[in-house]
């Protein structure tokens, strides 16, 4: 019995939510990572100001300042291209989980220094690659990025992804006629669902024999 997939599932099967999430989160992380990469010393200084990473051994802080911008760029590029999407989204979500408390604690410190100004009026260079920002807008931005990363993490669609092309899976949406380059399976078949294992094709000889019936054997 064929159950009709839920609305969210059907929406996911179009590949559009994943595509939007990939382009937004991937593009943003590529941009932010590149900005940090351009001035690593400034990033190192800002990183230290957070006071959340141990200063000893000093190699640790240096290593984070060297690796983090490139890690963001690699994640962004992976999402944009559509390769290792879940791995990249998982890494981005992990980084964002780390950034949230760091940003809030730094903003609270600045708020205290500035004599208790409203929280949303706190602005500082968070080292995010966008210069001086207001904390509330940064938190909203990070929340949206987190939502995008989660969509990329849970989506089962692999439409418009480079990995689909490489693995011989469907690259274009269901309304586009397409057969699998490996097995010749018709992707437009209604029973085919995204992410499911390829349906085993019935043996042509057996089908022909059964159609003739037992009398012909």
């Amino acid at each position: 019995m064929n159950e009709r997939p839920s609305l969210l599932r059907r929406l996911d099967q179009t590949g559009v939510p994943l595509l939007i999430a990939r382009l937004a989160v991937g593009g943003m992380f590529l941009y932010l990572g590149f900005n940090k990469f351009q001035d690593p010393i400034l990033f190192l200084k800002i990183l230290r100001e957070y006071n959340i990473l141990p200063e000893e051994p000093h190699y640790f802080l240096n290593a984070v300042a060297i690796v983090l911008p490139c890690l963001e760029m690699v994640c962004g590029l992976a999402l944009l291209l559509g390769v290792s999407i879940r791995g990249a989204a998982c890494t981005i979500a992990g980084m964002l989980v780390f950034f949230f408390p760091a940003l809030i604690s730094q903003a609270l410190k600045i708020q205290e220094v500035k004599g208790g100004i409203p929280f949303c009026d706190v602005s500082f260079d968070c080292g995010c690659g966008t210069g001086v920002v207001f904390i509330c807008s940064k938190l909203v931005e990070n929340t949206l990025l987190m939502i995008g990363a989660i969509i990329a993490l849970i989506s089962r669609s692999r439409l418009y992804c480079l990995s689909s092309l490489l693995m011989g899976e469907r690259f274009l949406p269901p309304w586009t006629p397409q057969t699998c380059p490996r097995c010749g399976h018709d992707w437009t078949a209604p029973e085919r669902e995204q992410g499911a294992e390829p349906i085993e094709q019935p043996d042509v000889k057996e089908v022909a024999l059964s159609a003739r019936g037992p009398s012909s054997t």
Binding site: I41, N62, V67, R86, G87, T91, L153
Partner: protein
């Protein structure tokens, strides 16, 4: 379960690739724009010389240059740093690098202004060192200040240290506020044999200077 394992493996792969790209790019990029992995950029290690050694040194230097002392009494020459003990000891605590507690002579905006207006300043008797980055220096700095980005000290050492050796008073400043670059630059200068008692830190820094409508110079020097 298989999906979770695959996701974790992909994340590890991304981490490995990111780390490899990071270190490779850092090694490949121009030296002035890279992070030296082995360098402790924020270590404050100051050997404060004994008080009795300071004045004769200063006197000798003044005799050698034949110049008058820069200062005016309130300009900080006679003010010994609050935390500078006279018995010579090493401070190796990163906490000691805050403006509240560092071993260098602190000077106020009024003192800096009087040194700035002193005619001997133009002759290089007193010099201003800007410890901020190149971009910030170009946006604006104290007129006559010498650029010396603290994190690229090696690039400036050939021009800055000779100037410091001949100067009587070296006013080092950075952005102000929590900025510690001026203190860290003082440490670097001491490592390059610039006498301790010539170094002064203008804690208010560029922010205080600019906010008080003091003269500003733009562009490179």
């Amino acid at each position: 379960m298989r999906l979770i394992r695959k996701t974790i493996l992909e994340a590890i792969l991304i981490l490995v690739v990111g780390t490899a790209v990071g270190f490779t790019a850092n090694a490949a990029r121009a030296k002035r724009n890279s992070i030296r992995f082995d360098k402790d950029y924020f270590k404050i290690s100051v050997v404060v010389p004994p008080a009795e050694q300071m004045s004769p040194n200063l006197k000798e230097d003044q005799d050698a240059t034949g110049s008058e002392p820069a200062a005016e009494p309130g300009a900080g020459q006679g003010d010994q740093p609050e935390s500078a003990p006279g018995d010579g000891h090493e401070k190796e605590d990163s906490e000691a690098g805050t403006h509240a507690d560092h071993p260098f002579q602190k000077i106020t905006l009024e003192e800096v202004a009087s040194i700035f207006c002193d005619p001997s300043t133009e002759q290089g008797v007193n010099i201003f060192l800007d410890a901020r980055s190149d971009a910030l220096f170009e946006e604006g700095h104290i007129p006559g200040a010498i650029q010396c980005d603290r994190y690229r000290f090696e690039e400036y050492i050939d021009t800055v240290v000779p100037a410091c050796q001949t100067a009587e008073k070296i006013i080092v400043y950075c952005h102000g506020g929590d900025c510690e670059d001026s203190i860290l630059l003082c440490c670097d200068l001491m490592d390059a044999d610039v006498p301790y008692d010539r170094l002064c830190v203008f804690a208010g820094g560029w922010t205080e200077w600019k906010d008080n409508q003091m003269p500003v110079e733009e562009g490179e020097r």
